[in-house]
């Protein structure tokens, strides 16, 4: 089976400036969105209490709310979770935050014993833990950027590094923007998804860069735009197929994986789509803007590539 008969000849680079403009504006938009709307942080980051209980029969949410309010938890958020028998309760971080008695108190307030309520999950996170996590998460992102930039600099050239990292920041920002717009809960697993996306997105960029290098060296007469266009077209089919297989497994995860990996799957599905665009327009587009040339990539002895294992 095949999608096209020969290598397509799409002139991607014709719109490279438009692409960069659109991406820059979108990134600024997301920064504003994050500043004013923010993310729907889960209790991993904010601290607080999350209780998931399962009732033997359907239950009125109002009843649950009142029971909690009576026990002194007025600022509760109660919602159904999947079915009308499963209830998710969230409480903001309490003033006397270190007390983990909260969890027992809630069960008591709900009358867990009499009503035969099954406890599915209790998470209690102190606010100090959440703060540290935010710091650590930001730190992880920065370290990942530095590591990837250094590797690309070592394998290619600094202009490629800048392009690659710009694409990574772009993809991470777009995904955060998406999570903010659709108010998807941002917890530890979602953070892991963003970091996995960074690895994945860079994968895309590297595949194109690699072809650009190969073609730059092999096709001495072509100008840089022709080389880049040819490289993107040559790798296009591979990109399409890889995204397809990745989207297939992510869809499987979204459909069958249950609630705990829901936001992980959603974030990655969106991120994979954005990564396709950014590997063409952001990373490669920016590298061209910075003026990559054949000389930048020529190996010292002009032969290597074809002899490599």
């Amino acid at each position: 089976m095949k999608f096209f008969d020969r290598v397509p000849k799409i002139d991607f680079m014709a719109q490279r400036k438009t692409g960069l403009w659109v991406s820059s504006l979108l990134t600024i938009g997301v920064v504003l969105l994050l500043a004013f709307r923010g993310l729907n942080f889960g209790i991993d980051f904010t601290g607080g209490v999350l209780v998931e209980v399962s009732y033997p029969q359907t239950v009125e949410l109002e009843d649950v709310r009142q029971r909690l309010a009576k026990a002194g938890y007025e600022r509760n958020t109660v919602q159904f979770f999947g079915t009308s028998q499963d209830v998710l309760i969230r409480l903001p971080p309490a003033e006397e935050t270190s007390s983990a008695k909260v969890s027992s108190n809630i069960l008591e307030a709900l009358g867990a014993a009499e009503q035969n309520i099954q406890l599915r999950r209790i998470d209690f996170v102190g606010p100090q833990v959440g703060e540290e996590l935010t710091e650590k998460g930001a730190l992880a992102l920065i370290f990942a950027f530095i590591g990837i930039a250094a590797y690309i600099m070592f394998r290619f050239e600094w202009k490629f590094s800048v392009g690659a990292v710009a694409a990574l920041i772009h993809d991470a920002m777009m995904t955060l923007g998406f999570l903010s717009v659709f108010w998807v809960e941002f917890d530890l697993t979602t953070l892991a998804a963003i970091l996995a996306l960074i690895g994945y997105s860079n994968n895309e960029t590297v595949v194109i860069y690699d072809r650009v290098r190969e073609n730059l060296i092999a096709q001495r007469r072509a100008n840089i735009f022709e080389v880049v266009n040819l490289s993107i077209n040559q790798t296009l089919l591979r990109s399409v197929i890889t995204h397809l297989t990745t989207l297939l497994v992510l869809t499987a995860l979204l459909l069958m994986g249950g609630s705990s990996v829901h936001s992980f799957a959603v974030a990655l599905i969106f991120g994979v789509i954005v990564a396709t665009y950014s590997s063409i327009y952001v990373s490669t587009g920016l590298a061209i803007l910075l003026g990559i040339s054949r000389e930048d990539l020529l190996p010292p002895q002009d032969e290597a590539v074809d002899e490599l294992p």
Partner: protein, 620 residues
């Protein structure tokens, strides 16, 4: 086509067999079992099987097996009902010196287990259980240390004849005022010599005021000591809980992680974690016979009867407490300079030191005991065999030694073996008043949620694999089959890696596993697209296969290294579930570099390598 080196086939075969062996334990499933170990952590003797047999004989339970595994004794049963019943019977028979825990024992055959093959470790979100993150309140400990110096420093100065005109506490400093500079200098010299853990400085603008602060080194020591005390105490208590495979670990500077798989009743756990323990130094009463007091139950007035922890020897102790755990500042095992034998060096605070000095001045040559007291929740059995939960005070003598001379703040307990001195130091620390702990994070996963997570995770993985396999075979035909075989080997290697490293598999880990499948086929997609490209360009099929694998190699390596960098950063910085995800991602990428290139290439060579006259490949 160049022939593919035969050693590569052999290497591939060896890797496959090796990983199949080490992944195998995951297939065997688990037996309901009861795990028994000694509270002290020592190994159980082989003859212990007879006691188990006796315990199970009366109720007529026949275990499927009963044998020693490492330092534990594991008794397996054919159903959960017999397991639960046997657990109660064994507990009743053995009493409280043993830790008896319900346990899911892997059915891995002995020959595999003897090679070190183990099933993957499942995280709490997959098996259910409780997770606590406790924070040791270091500030309180430090404040207490300062308070001690505020009462102790002036007293020692007075004893030395150095007069001061005022003393007070100012934040984290002890402030002393003097009438003239000579006295201040004398005090400075004395404190610098006797209290090396204090840093001295003049109060700014007040030449006759001296400020003493705890040095950074000492502050760190106090903090570490407080955390370690708690760690030991918590470990002891968790052992009492009867939980198989508990985790009690230091995390960061002042946190302790406690994970108890399978436990649901957090109230009980919190009660136990919050139990209080202390130490008491007491005089041993010599003019009455402890043996007969123990036999008759008649205890002379003013004394109390206690037994030693090791050996259960009775002693009569005076009711008066010389020094208590809250006055213990440090306890370190070491070597006695004079005799060269192991000892424990103990440091008391000012108040404790004074009472100890007063007592030892009058009692040289007489024995003194250290009593460990703890209030716990203990499960006992009534006449009908029903378990009863009750608070119980545990009082055990952990050391008896005779007083060799007069001492106060610092003293040594000698005449110990090397392991004994280590143990005593640990026990002393555990009994000293530990810094208060706060629960900063608590996560409880019910067993039903754990089971749901496992089921959903594996369903998602199966569906993902099926979809990818279908797509690859439709799209790449025979080469699609190679890619899927390579992907299967990749999964096998990943499971082997996780089993060997005993990295904990969590729900995000399963998500990582599913994602890895999507990414791992990318390597083959790259290669196959290259082969197609070369075929289009007019290359012969054999040459196209060569070129496809050769040229794609570096691209795949570059792409994998960058993903690996993100994975390693996550392992280094991430905690808990994120780290589980990252380990899976990193392992999967490393495995795919091998399987997608060596594995699928070997297959391609095996099938197409000998066909001399091919005009096309079944890759379209």
């Amino acid at each position: 086509m160049r022939p593919y080196a035969s050693w590569k086939y052999i290497a591939l075969l060896i890797v496959t067999i090796f990983s199949a062996l080490y992944a195998a334990p995951n297939l065997y499933g688990q037996d309901p079992a009861v795990q028994i170990s000694l509270e002290s952590g020592e190994a159980l003797p082989d003859s212990f099987g007879e006691r188990i047999a006796t315990a199970l004989q009366a109720p007529g339970i026949t275990p499927t097996s009963s044998r020693r595994e490492g330092t534990h004794w594991v008794v397996r049963f054919d159903s959960t009902d017999t397991q639960l019943k046997a657990n109660d019977d064994i507990k009743r028979e053995l009493g409280n010196r043993y830790v008896v825990a319900l346990f899911q024992a892997s059915k891995t055959p002995a020959w595999l287990a003897s090679m070190g093959a183990k099933p993957m470790a499942l995280g709490l979100d997959l098996r259910g259980g409780v997770h606590f993150l406790l924070e040791v309140d270091v500030d309180t400990v430090r404040k207490k240390a300062i308070e001690n110096y505020v009462s102790e420093l002036p007293a020692t100065l007075r004893k030395e004849g150095i007069r001061y005109t005022g003393r007070r506490q100012n934040g984290d400093a002890v402030v002393l005022e003097f009438a003239d500079e000579a006295k201040l200098d004398a005090a400075r010299r004395f404190i610098a010599k006797e209290y090396r853990e204090l840093a001295l400085q003049n109060a700014p603008g007040q030449p006759l005021v001296l400020e003493a602060r705890i040095t950074d080194v000492e502050a760190k020591r106090i903090q570490d000591f407080a955390v370690q005390q708690n760690l030991i105490t918590l470990r002891n208590r968790v052992n009492q809980l009867g939980v198989a495979e508990p985790v009690v670990q230091k995390q960061g500077a002042n946190r302790i992680l406690v994970q108890l798989p399978g436990v649901q009743d957090t109230t009980r756990v919190k009660e136990l974690l919050g139990a209080t323990a202390t130490l008491e130094y007491r005089a041993v009463v010599q003019d009455a016979d402890a043996g007969s007091a123990a036999a008759t139950g008649i205890v002379p007035p003013g004394t109390e009867l206690f037994y030693t922890r090791e050996g259960h020897i009775p002693y009569l102790l005076n009711k008066d407490i010389i020094a208590s755990g809250s006055q213990l500042v440090n306890a370190q095992p070491g070597i006695d300079q004079q005799s060269g034998t192991p000892m424990v060096s103990v440091t008391l605070d000012g108040q404790g030191a004074k009472r100890m000095f007063d007592f030892t001045s009058k009692n040289v040559g007489k024995p003194m005991a250290v009593l460990f007291r703890e209030r716990q929740v203990v499960t006992t059995y009534n006449a009908k065999g029903e378990p009863m939960r009750e608070h119980r005070d545990i009082d055990q003598i952990i050391s008896v030694a005779s007083i060799r001379g007069v001492f106060g703040k610092n003293f040594q307990t000698t005449g110990l073996g090397s392991k004994e001195s280590q143990d005593l130091a640990l026990q002393l620390k555990a009994g000293a008043l530990a810094a208060p702990v706060d629960i900063v994070e608590e996560r409880t996963v019910g067993p039903s949620l754990g089971a749901d997570n496992i089921r959903q995770g594996f369903q998602a993985a199966a569906l993902g694999l099926a979809l990818v396999a279908l797509f690859m075979i439709v799209y790449y035909r025979v080469f699609g089959i190679f890619a899927i075989l390579a992907l299967a080997l990749n999964l096998l290697l990943l499971i082997t890696g996780l089993s060997l490293l005993q990295a904990t598999l969590t729900m995000p880990g399963i998500a990582g596993l599913v994602l890895t499948m999507g990414i791992a086929v990318d390597a083959n997609v790259l290669i196959y697209e290259r082969i197609r490209e070369e075929l289009r360009g007019g290359m012969s099929p054999a040459k196209a296969i060569e070129a496809g694998y050769d040229r794609a190699f570096l691209t795949i390596a570059d792409a994998n290294v960058t993903t690996l960098i993100a994975g390693i950063v996550l392992i280094a910085v991430g905690a808990g579930p994120v780290r589980g995800f990252a380990v899976v991602l990193a392992l999967g990428i490393v495995a795919s570099q091998f399987t997608a290139i060596v594995g699928s290439r070997a297959l391609a060579h095996l099938v197409f390598g000998r066909r001399a006259r091919m005009t096309d490949l079944p890759i379209w």
